[in-house]
């Protein structure tokens, strides 16, 4: 693949950035959900 390094770098950066952000949001969501009573979280 021509410019393979760049393509890989771009895809890797995107995957890492979005993945890390998603994990952070989900993780904090779990942590905070434990502290809030279910009646205040109306999506479950």
């Amino acid at each position: 693949m021509s410019h393979g390094g760049y393509v890989l770098a771009g895809y890797a950066a995107s995957a890492v950035a979005i993945g890390a952000y998603a994990l952070r949001v989900l993780g904090r969501g779990r942590a905070l959900s434990r502290r809030v009573p279910p009646k205040d979280r109306r999506w479950t």
Binding site: S2, Y11, A13, G29, R35, P38
Partner: protein, 281 residues
Amino acid sequence: MTSPAPSGTEPSGTAAGAGAPAHTGSQGTRVLGSVTAAGLVMLSLFALVFSPAEADQGDAVRLMYIHVPTAVVAFLAFFVTAAGSALWLWKKSRWWDLVAASSAEIGVIFTALTLVTGMVWGRPIWGVYWTWDARLTSTALLLLLFLGYLAIRRVPAEPDVRNRRAAFAGLIAVVDVPIVHYSVNWWNSLHQEPTITRLDPSIDGLMLFTLMLGIVVFLLLYLWLLVHRFRLAWLEEQLASSDLAAALVERRAEADEATISAPPAPSSAAKASGTIAEASR
């Protein structure tokens, strides 16, 4: 067995209630998430394997299948933030403000990604990381507008004051986005800088399909992130107000303690407030 926990006044642990899963997911987000994940896999396949390389750019064109979708999401996120701000100022429901804030945070991520993928694409093609082409420049300014909005939200001030000001700032900025876009485009056309060529519709069908697929998948991804981030923001609000209520209870307990000059009354209330007050010391 499970006593209903008083909402908000109890820290951690028992407040979750019996059996309710403690996370921001729901049936809807599971479906959305699965579709998005499948879409991402499909996009990766099409982008990296099935679609052809391009004549001039070689395989670097594959970066466009991320760069363009992230740009679409970035600008969409900004308009959602602005719309949320407007609706919040108008309707006063917290829902809208939280949508605006969540969209802003996601928008920053995607705007930064747009710039990074643009730079990674530009290096092998033009030999430079940055060029003042219209799209990159507008995106850079968009990032700064986002950062300004988020900066106001983090200012040390009353939450309501700073949220309102941030909402106004968002609206002022969104009015600017088309002006910026237009002026940067115009400015750029004077220089004949190499532009990130708009992939015109007469390009190879498979490449066009992959590009459209990318946009759709990233829109779904944005939605999924938005829902989760919104629920997270909602939880933060709930906790902030309940923490405040708990702190008020403690303060009042301490005040009661101070005014009780008589020897400690045997009533459980006084004992309870005494323990709370002591615990907080």
